[in-house]
């Protein structure tokens, strides 16, 4: 039992992201309201962001801003050690992914407004009814 718990604890970040991812996916598939679907989509994307950021973490590392330097006299300063800082690359990537998520959200909302203007509702089943009629 303890082994399982420690195993889960060691992989907790993955569990968290998978659960979030599935929550988002479930909302996107099942929910009837388009805005709820959009919210699901955002959760879905956020889960991936969580995944990336969590893989950058190192136990005992700090944020990747080199402590002693201002860059002007780098020669006399001690070189930064990789172990001391967490992995900066996933953070960079996720800045991009966040921006992409925001952009997608904006476009999705714009489309939802268009849909609402067209059909007067955001419930998918009602829209389908109107299309068939």
């Amino acid at each position: 039992m303890e082994q399982i718990l420690s195993f889960i604890a060691a992989k907790a970040n993955y569990w968290a992201y998978v659960i979030l991812l599935m929550v988002g996916l479930y909302a996107m598939i099942v929910k009837n309201n388009l805005v709820k679907k959009i919210v699901g989509m955002v959760i879905f994307q956020t889960a991936v962001i969580l995944f990336y950021v969590s893989i950058g973490y190192k136990t005992g590392g700090t944020i990747p801003i080199i402590i002693y330097g201002d860059g002007h006299n780098s020669i006399i300063e001690p070189a930064a050690k990789a172990v001391d800082y967490i992995n900066p690359l996933p953070h960079v990537l996720m800045l991009t992914a966040i921006v992409v998520g925001v952009a997608t959200l904006g476009v999705a909302l714009a489309l939802a407004i268009k849909v609402y203007q067209e059909y007067g509702t955001l419930e998918e089943d009602e829209i389908n009814k109107k299309i068939r009629a």
């Binding site: 991812l21 479930y26 801003i65 860059g71 992995n87 991009t96």
Partner: protein, 274 residues
């Protein structure tokens, strides 16, 4: 649909969880991800770019090309919302005006409405009287928010922050103004054309800097070649180059956030809105 969703979710989730068993543990300093590229960045960023904040350096220099397109993504979203939603000059069926001396609200049909008047004040159809506290607090706060935003932009080299963060905060200040007052007042101060021009200009600053480097020197976005223009050595030129593009990013992000807000909040009419 519900069962289908459940099956898909359970299947995908199970699969994803199953495969995590081989993944490196949380916080493992010896995972491949932490051993291949990231040590290089941590150890050499200062030497290469004279920027202590590794994230900023990677963002705007090593992977600066990515970030340029990231900014473009924002611009794309702004353009997309504009293209999808904007309805220019729609004839408004009726407008509401508040007669300020008496506090009477009047409804005008068609195009018969008071043009410029000291006593009549246009209000939204779902207008509620302004809350003085909110109004006052926001007016007070907006200046500080904006100054903080500029700080965030400027200090991206040394602390968490940079163009995106600063730009978003700047945009939020204008959006706060629009929410606390009304949309028209915000548009009067920061017009739609301004927003569009700023959002294009920000990316232009970024891509233009890149193109300038390419024209002077060799590679797109290689800030080294800016050193003769900036009058610094090649390493510092990188640091300054990063700052220039961060400003571009901030301008675009701010303008697009505002632009998207204008379009979304008024469903493209930009007449009445939140």
């Amino acid at each position: 649909m519900k069962t289908l969703g459940q099956i898909t979710v359970l299947f995908c989730g199970g699969l994803l969880l199953f495969f995590t068993s081989d993944f490196p543990d949380f916080g493992d300093a010896n995972s491949p991800a932490s051993l291949h590229l990231s040590p290089y960045f941590i150890e050499n960023t200062l030497k290469d770019t004279a920027v202590p904040n590794v994230v900023t350096a990677i963002l705007a220099d090593y992977r600066g090309y990515d970030t340029m397109f990231e900014t473009t993504v924002i611009l794309t979203a702004g353009l997309a919302c504009f293209l999808l939603l904007r309805i220019p000059k729609r004839e408004v069926k009726s407008r509401y005006y508040l007669h300020e001396p008496t506090g009477v609200t009047l409804r005008f049909e068609g195009d018969k409405y008071p043009q410029k008047s000291d006593v009549f004040k246009r209000i939204d159809s779902n207008w509620v009287p302004y809350d003085l506290i909110i109004n006052f607090t926001c007016r007070l706060l907006i200046h500080f928010i904006q100054i903080f935003a500029l700080y965030v932009v400027a200090h991206g080299h040394y602390s968490p922050g940079g163009g995106f963060q600063g730009g978003v905060v700047l945009g939020a200040s204008v959006i706060l103004f629009a929410i606390s007052g009304n949309l028209r007042a915000a548009i009067k101060r920061f017009g739609e054309k301004t927003a569009a021009l700023f959002s294009a200009a920000g990316v232009f600053i970024y891509a233009g800097t890149g193109a300038l480097c390419m024209m002077i020197g060799e590679h797109f976005l290689n800030y080294n070649f800016l050193s003769p223009l900036l009058g610094t050595d090649r390493i510092m030129a990188r640091s300054h180059g990063i700052f220039i593009v961060e400003i571009g990013v901030a301008v675009t992000v701010m303008a697009v956030m505002i632009w998207i807000y204008y379009n979304l909040s008024s469903a493209g009419k930009q007449d009445e809105g939140l």
